[in-house]
């Protein structure tokens, strides 16, 4: 009985914390809309890891800092037009996806020749990482990371986006649909095909489920 009461109290506290966090985030966004840079710094600190990770999965290592900067500059510029503060997260992911799309478009047009150089550097770094690792489990982990990275690279950008946002960033399908501006049914279909393709890639590497 006492345990149940404690559990319910803990749950209430957690909900209250979540509410407070949500409220403070909305307040932060409102202050940012009014031009408060200190609040924008807090928002940056809160979201930069997610933005960075998404961009890294979508575009790789090359010019990652520049891409992150681009996302936050666009966010700052567009914040006054954001009507509902609670959609900030979805909106920021949307900006990240736009920046990633622009980057890929430039690469496809061949405007940016640095990409290949950076990819080569990534491979070199991977080799250095391998040489530093002593433990077998770490070695396996690095190997799997490399397999996942190569698997993501081999997927189409549409499939990759859905897989990254849903499976790696752990966003619900509805939010993914909003970010990519596509129906939920399309998200489901793309996710299904992306996972199947990924499974095949992993099977080629001797990894099966």
């Amino acid at each position: 009985m006492l345990a149940n009461q404690k559990a319910s109290k803990a749950e209430t506290d957690t909900n209250a914390d979540a509410d407070t966090n949500a409220q403070t985030e909305q307040e932060l966004i409102l202050l940012c809309q009014q031009g408060d840079r200190t609040c924008f710094r807090l928002l940056y600190q809160r979201y930069q890891q997610r933005v960075r990770s998404t961009l890294y999965q979508l575009c790789g290592k090359s010019l990652l800092d520049d891409l992150v900067q681009e996302v936050f500059l666009r966010a700052w510029k567009g914040l006054p037009k954001l009507k509902t503060a609670k959609y900030f997260s979805t909106w920021l992911y949307r900006i990240s996806w736009n920046v990633a799309t622009d980057r890929r478009r430039k690469l496809a047009q061949g405007k940016d020749k640095t990409f290949n150089e950076y990819t080569d550097k990534d491979r070199l770094n991977y080799g250095k990482d391998l040489s530093n690792v002593q433990d077998t489990s770490d070695l396996m982990h690095l190997h799997y990371q490399d397999v996942v990275q190569r698997g993501l690279n081999s997927l189409s950008f549409d499939h990759r986006s859905v897989l990254v946002l849903h499976d790696l960033e752990d966003l619900p399908q509805k939010q993914v649909a909003e970010i990519l501006d596509i129906p939920v049914g399309t998200v489901k279909s793309r996710l299904f095909h992306a996972r199947n393709s990924f499974k095949k890639i992993l099977e080629q590497q001797g990894i099966s489920f």
């Binding site: 840079r37 992150v68 510029k77 397999v147 499976d167 996972r195 992993l202 990894i207 489920f209």
Partner: protein, 129 residues
């Protein structure tokens, strides 16, 4: 015993999450660099919008007032006194007569429709005869 497709998917997802490649650390001064690159907010737009909102109605009101006043000044006042009315009627009648006289003096319609060239050609033909 084989895994169900759902189990397979869950296994794949957990494998991906566990082994997802982690992004490299950001440049230490990236945060500062971003904050320094932020453009200052322009609140002029709102003020401008407010100014426009106030300017347009006041301009319309001023225009309306000006038109009303000038129209009131220029419009002839209606004669209320019988003498004024009589004078007005007499003046109007004289003006009408004057207009008729004037129109009688005017050249005929044919006259002013004929081009000058025609007259000169006629003169030439006379000289040829």
């Amino acid at each position: 015993m084989t895994n169900s497709p759902k189990d397979n998917q869950n296994n794949l997802v957990s494998f991906l999450r566990h082994n997802q490649p982690l992004p490299p650390q950001a440049c230490p001064d990236l945060e500062q660099k971003i904050l320094e690159s932020l453009e200052p907010r322009r609140f002029r737009d709102r003020r401008h919008y407010k100014t426009v909102t106030w300017t347009i109605p006041s301009a319309i009101a001023t225009g309306f007032l000006f038109t009303t006043v000038s129209f009131g000044v220029r419009t002839p006042r209606i004669a209320i006194e019988p003498n004024d009315l009589e004078n007005f009627l007499v003046d109007n009648w004289h003006d009408t007569l004057n207009n008729q006289n004037h129109s009688a003096i005017d050249d005929s319609e044919i006259d002013w429709l004929l081009p000058n060239v025609y007259k000169s050609k006629q003169a030439l033909s006379v000289s040829a005869q």
